[in-house]
């Protein structure tokens, strides 16, 4: 076989497309000689040379009888008086084709050479499969059984065509099991006639569909006009006479008016060729013709864009009844010469076997809506006739593969056309265009024209509506996306009434890096339209591996474009979150920035769904729940479309894997058993930069031997969370006279080798010990405060009650509530120190009476205003859903030492503004940077108060909306000395 022949075989088998209303194959823009583009493919000169099997078809139809049977079927077509087609029995094949000479050798299936596609010297091979073994071999074991005669009685078709737009070879197989009795023969003949119709190059046709669809019940007239070349037979039509004979009045195998017209259009008898077809009539002289184009209407009702895929029907107005005829009906599908599927840049221009889509059908848009109703019979004796001209949708169920859209899926016509009457004359040709009234009107997209080279900017919301109006339209948009994100591009096809539709555009979606010069298919694409469970939806789910600008494209799978190809599109993409850290204790508000976000977008943080508290197209507001320390994904999901966007590893809850823990204080003097060490064991959790504090991280405290940690409510181990300054701190009460190792581990539940810091504490015990319970204190300059001072007297670890403890101010000024206090049974005694307008540090000495020994000193160090610092503790950024209260804002006042010390008695001024968006719109947070809304909130109230810090340096402010309903935000600041901290809170209304 020559290379050319091999190529043509491939072309045909894998890209054959139907162009109904006449030709099954039309030469396209690839493979065929350019001069043939738009030419229906036919047998040269209309002559079909066929070669029959040497064997018998059945006992009933031995070789010669079978030949007669085949010739009779050919005659059904060759006898059409206006069709220049003839069938010549050229002889016999070189063998009796049977299962025995079709075999597998070396992995290849071999057949007799004269029935292969390359056997152009036997252009049409007809196999008599006497025992069904060929049918079984080709279609599967059991396929030749007589119960499948309706499907497998006669099968095959054209399998080779040339670049000159002419058929080169076809193969027809007749199953002998379907010719066992005379009662089977009419059906076999019917199926053979249909196969021959295909071999001649006829497409499937659609007229009088109610004959098979049943609604309304078919009349005898309609059965008489029902084309042999309809695509499907219902299962109940066995034998076919049941459906198509009209009680014996009609031969089901006989080509009807529509079949004859279609064949004659392919092979017209002309004045030039009539000499080769003796007894026939010149097609154009003995019939009439109506031709034209189907068009969309523009806004003024004038013809706009051509519309393909509409069945145009001409019915004779029966002179006897003045009604449209059921039997004299001719059809043509608009655009039958046009390329219904040319492919597209997104999914490519070749089919799954590598064949070009555009090798069939013209690329000339002037034939996009063209129809040809040549072959209209004129009643005998008349010179003219009236025809009703109407349009129908091509039925996707019964005429699946008919017409230009048959290679993909049928398209519902846009608009309607009121049938008209057209008078035609014998030999006449009427040009009559069809304007579809009320059809979709071509409009420009609001974003203007885009192209691959000049993509538009993706709408900031990520949502848009578009239309692929013109043939070949595609929309392209660019947008930046980050690595380690996934996204979904969701496109819903809608019709001209904005209803979801799968009968209009077949939207496909592609993505490229912007720098991509134009790869086709797109590196990421949906291989087909409607690839999801949702009606009318196409969705591309893509993973981004490198941060760059991307181009997203949307077009019709067929490369088509019409004003009724509308769509809604959305890019669901989560870009970033702010803040990127959340407390392991939960309650951290997060703002997710992205595209195409909706109020019903669900958000999973660390695998747990969290409620969405506020939403816009570009922001979502959520509150985190409690979680385990670590780095997590944030997943956005759209339950409606199934789209999702995963932001991989964007959120660190508590301590991250590279965070560090640092000891701030921990060195203590020897402390008597039962006493509290004066210096807290304080640690700070910091990010990898060693500077940024990490709040909400889990810190496990433990001691060996045991101490009583104040942070653990007296327990010897527990896990606490670092505050918003990254601090975790505890005092220790010594329980035994040992060297105790204090350990703080960072998130040991999450990391197998957690970071940790340790300190030691020496517990002592003697005959008489005095331990201070009140730790050293730092007091703000000018403060007036009262400080309880507590101490415990012990003897070898046992509390000593009834002993006098003396208190004395040994430096600075102040007032003690008592100079001597008796210890209680637990060994404790306390007195209060009051200082007024503190101007200097104060020292208090405590001694056990009688011998004034042992003694302890409590220092109250004055901190100047200029040294005051503020640390955030909690509530700096918070949001409360409807019905929940905001937590107080808590700050800590410390001095400027390193490590710092909490300051008692500092005045902290809190100032808060309460505001609301106009129209009570939700207010969306953008992390710690304020409220991100295009308009300023309306300030409704102001709240101001001053709070004195406590012994731990803490000052709290109750955040409240002051009774203001709806979505209200509080933005405020805390100030101590020269230092301020801002806080933000939002109360969501019902």
């Amino acid at each position: 076989m020559s290379k050319l022949v091999f190529a043509t075989v491939v072309v045909l088998l894998f890209s054959a497309r139907a162009s109904a209303g006449g030709p099954a194959y039309v030469a396209g823009a690839s493979f065929f000689d350019p001069s043939t583009i738009g030419t229906p493919i036919t047998w040269p000169e209309g002559i079909v040379n066929y070669y029959t099997d040497q064997g018998d078809l059945s006992t009933l139809l031995p070789g010669a009888s079978a030949d007669t049977f085949v010739a009779s079927a050919f005659t059904m077509w060759t006898s059409v008086p206006t069709a220049a087609v003839s069938a010549v029995h050229g002889g016999q094949l070189a063998e009796n084709v049977s299962g025995s000479n079709i075999s597998v050798a070396n992995g290849a299936i071999t057949t007799p050479a004269d029935i292969t596609p390359g056997a152009t010297t036997t252009p049409v091979g007809i196999v008599y499969d006497e025992d069904g073994s060929v049918t079984d071999a080709l279609l599967g074991s059991g396929a030749s059984a007589s119960i499948y005669c309706a499907d497998n009685g006669a099968f095959g078709g054209v399998d080779n065509l040339g670049s000159n737009a002419q058929f080169q070879h076809a193969l027809i197989i007749l199953n002998g099991n379907c010719a066992q009795s005379s009662s089977q023969l009419p059906d076999l003949q019917y199926h053979l006639v249909r196969i021959i119709g295909r071999v001649l190059g006829l497409d499937w046709s659609q007229a009088n569909l109610n004959v098979v669809a049943g609604n309304p019940p078919a009349t005898a007239d309609q059965i008489a006009g029902f084309p042999v070349m309809h695509e499907y037979d219902p299962p109940g039509c066995v034998p076919v006479a049941n459906c198509y004979s009209s009680n014996g009045a009609v031969n089901p195998a006989q080509p009807k008016t529509d079949d004859q017209a279609a064949l004659s259009r392919l092979y017209p008898v002309t004045a030039q060729n009539i000499s080769s077809f003796t007894g026939k009539q010149v097609f154009s002289q003995t019939t009439a013709r109506i031709h034209g184009s189907v068009y969309f209407s523009d806004a003024n009702g004038a013809a706009a864009q051509p519309m393909q895929g509409v069945s145009v029907v001409a019915r004779l107005i029966d002179p006897s009844t003045n009604q449209p005829s059921g039997s004299v009906v001719v059809t043509s599908i608009s655009g039958f010469l046009f390329c219904g599927n040319a492919g597209n840049i997104i999914t490519g221009y070749t089919d799954s076997t590598g064949a070009n889509f555009n090798q069939f059908g013209s690329n000339d848009q002037s034939v996009e809506g063209f129809f040809d109703l040549a072959g209209l019979p004129i009643p005998a004796g008349a010179s003219n006739a009236q025809y009703q001209l109407s349009v129908e949708a091509v039925d996707p169920l019964w005429s699946t593969h008919a017409g230009p859209y048959g290679s993909t899926s049928q398209v519902e016509p846009s608009g309607s056309f009121t049938p008209i009457l057209v008078t035609v004359t014998l030999g006449g040709d009427v040009a009559e265009d069809i304007l579809m009234q009320g059809s979709a009107v071509q409009k420009s997209n609001w974003y203007g024209s885009t192209s691959y080279a000049s993509p538009g900017q993706l709408p900031t919301s990520g949502n848009w509506a578009g239309v692929m109006s013109a043939y070949g339209d595609a929309d392209f948009f660019e947008f930046p996306a980050q690595a380690n994100r996934s996204l979904s591009v969701i496109v819903n096809a809608i019709d001209e009434s904005s209803n979801l539709s799968e009968s209009k555009a077949l939207p496909v979606i592609g993505m490229w890096a912007l720098a991509d010069p134009g790869s086709s298919p797109a590196p990421a694409n949906t291989p087909s339209a409607f690839n999801t469970v949702n009606f009318g939806e196409t969705r591309l789910d893509a993973q981004i591996f490198q941060s760059t600008t991307f181009r997203v494209g949307i077009t019709d799978y067929r490369g088509d474009g019409r004003p009724d190809y509308r769509y809604n599109a959305r890019v669901l993409y989560g870009d970033n979150i702010n803040p990127a850290r959340a407390s392991a204790g939960g309650g951290t508000p997060l703002t997710i920035q992205g595209l195409g976000l909706q109020p019903n977008t669900t958000v999973q943080v660390a695998g747990v769904t969290v409620p969405v508290l506020g939403a816009s197209a570009t922001q979502l507001l959520v509150n985190t729940g409690a979680g385990t320390d670590g780095t997590y994904d944030v997943l956005l999901q759209d339950s409606g479309s199934g789209g999702q966007s995963d932001m991989s590893g964007v959120l660190t809850i508590g301590a991250g894997p590279t965070d560090t823990i640092k000891m701030i204080t921990g060195a203590n003097p020897a402390t008597a058993v039962g006493g509290q060490a004066p210096v807290p064991f304080a640690v700070q959790v910091l990010a990898a930069d060693g500077i940024t504090p990490v709040g909400g991280a889990s810190v496990q405290l433990s001691s060996s031997p045991a101490v009583a940690f104040s942070a653990c409510s007296g327990g010897s181990s527990c896990t606490v969370l670092s505050d918003q300054s990254g601090m975790a701190s505890t005092f220790m009460t010594v329980l035994s006279a040992n060297v105790m190792t204090l350990t703080a581990k960072l998130a040991p539940a999450s990391y197998s080798n957690p970071q940790q810091v340790q300190a030691t504490l020496l517990g002592t015990s003697s005959q008489l010990d005095l331990a201070l319970i009140t730790p050293p204190i730092w007091i703000a300059q000018g403060a007036t405060v009262t400080l309880p001072i507590q101490a415990r007297v012990m003897s070898n670890g046992t509390p000593v009650g009834g002993t006098a403890l003396n208190f004395q101010i040994t430096a600075g000024s102040g007032t003690l509530s008592a100079n001597s206090v008796q210890t209680a049974a637990n060994g404790n005694a306390s007195a209060s120190l009051q200082v007024n307008s503190l101007s200097a540090s104060v020292r208090v000495t405590l001694c056990v009476a009688q011998n004034n020994s042992p003694c302890q000193v409590l220092n109250a160090t004055m901190v100047q205003d200029s040294s005051l610092q503020l640390q955030p503790v909690s509530g700096m950024l918070q949001i409360a859903p409807p019905g929940q209260n905001l937590q107080p804002v808590s700050v800590r006042v410390v001095d400027s030492d390193t490590p710092s010390h909490p300051v008692l008695g500092a005045n902290v001024s809190f100032l808060a503004y309460i505001g609301r968006m106009p129209g009570n719109e939700p207010i969306v947070w953008a992390g710690g940077s304020g409220i991100s809304q295009p308009v300023m909130p309306v300030i409704l109230a102001e709240s101001q108060t001053t709070v004195q810090s406590d012994v731990n340096g803490l000052a709290n402010f109750a955040v409240s909306t002051g009774g203001i309903s709806g979505n209200a935000a509080i933005v405020g600041s805390a100030t101590a000395g020269n230092n301020s901290i801002n806080f933000e809170a939002q109360q969501l209304g019902p």
């Binding site: 597998v104 290849a108 050479a113 079984d136 279609l139 699946t400 991509d516 591309l540």
Partner: protein
């Protein structure tokens, strides 16, 4: 740029898998309530006996094979992932179906991503097969896994949940 291209190619592969993951339907409300009720067994009984393989599957790839030899027969190889195994296959198995290429031109075509319920003849001695009774042995399956079955002539096919279809097939097998 090359790195980006490669990355995005990976996108394409993953996107196919994600997009085709069966999910719960949000539309096609008639999936469970065909009206009038569809009698499933009569649809399947005629083709059940001769089917060697019955499964609902997703087309993964289509390949044309032609050795180029003058006597060789061209074939179309269609690779399916079995979504629902009913006869002769296992769930999730990758099944390759080899068809005579001549069927392609008669409308027996597949495209990647397509979902179908197939009743296939047992492979012939050539290893070839096709749907039992041509169109009778092939049913489209929608995104929800609903098998589109004919009701009345001319009426739009109704989607029926695959488990109901399997039950009907099993029932018909008993008869």
């Amino acid at each position: 740029m090359r790195a980006v291209v490669l990355s995005v190619i990976t996108i394409a592969l993953s996107s196919v898998l994600i997009a085709q993951t069966p999910q719960v339907a949000t539309r096609r409300p008639d999936i469970n309530t065909p009206n009038p009720p569809i009698l499933l067994r009569p649809i399947f009984q005629p083709i059940l006996r001769d089917a060697g393989k019955i499964f609902s599957g997703t087309v993964l790839a289509v390949e044309h094979q032609n050795s180029g030899s003058s006597s060789a027969l061209a074939t179309t190889n269609i690779r399916f992932r079995v979504d629902e195994a009913i006869r002769g296959v296992r769930k999730s198995e990758i099944v390759e179906v080899k068809e005579w290429a001549g069927l392609w031109g008669s409308g027996e075509r597949y495209h990647p991503g397509e979902r179908v319920l197939l009743f296939l003849y047992p492979p012939s001695k050539l290893g070839l097969t096709s749907p039992v009774g041509h169109r009778a042995g092939r049913f489209p399956v929608n995104g929800t896994g609903g098998v589109l079955l004919p009701t009345n002539p001319g009426a739009k096919p109704k989607p029926i949940e695959i488990h109901k279809v399997v039950a009907a097939i099993r029932e018909a097998e008993q008869e």
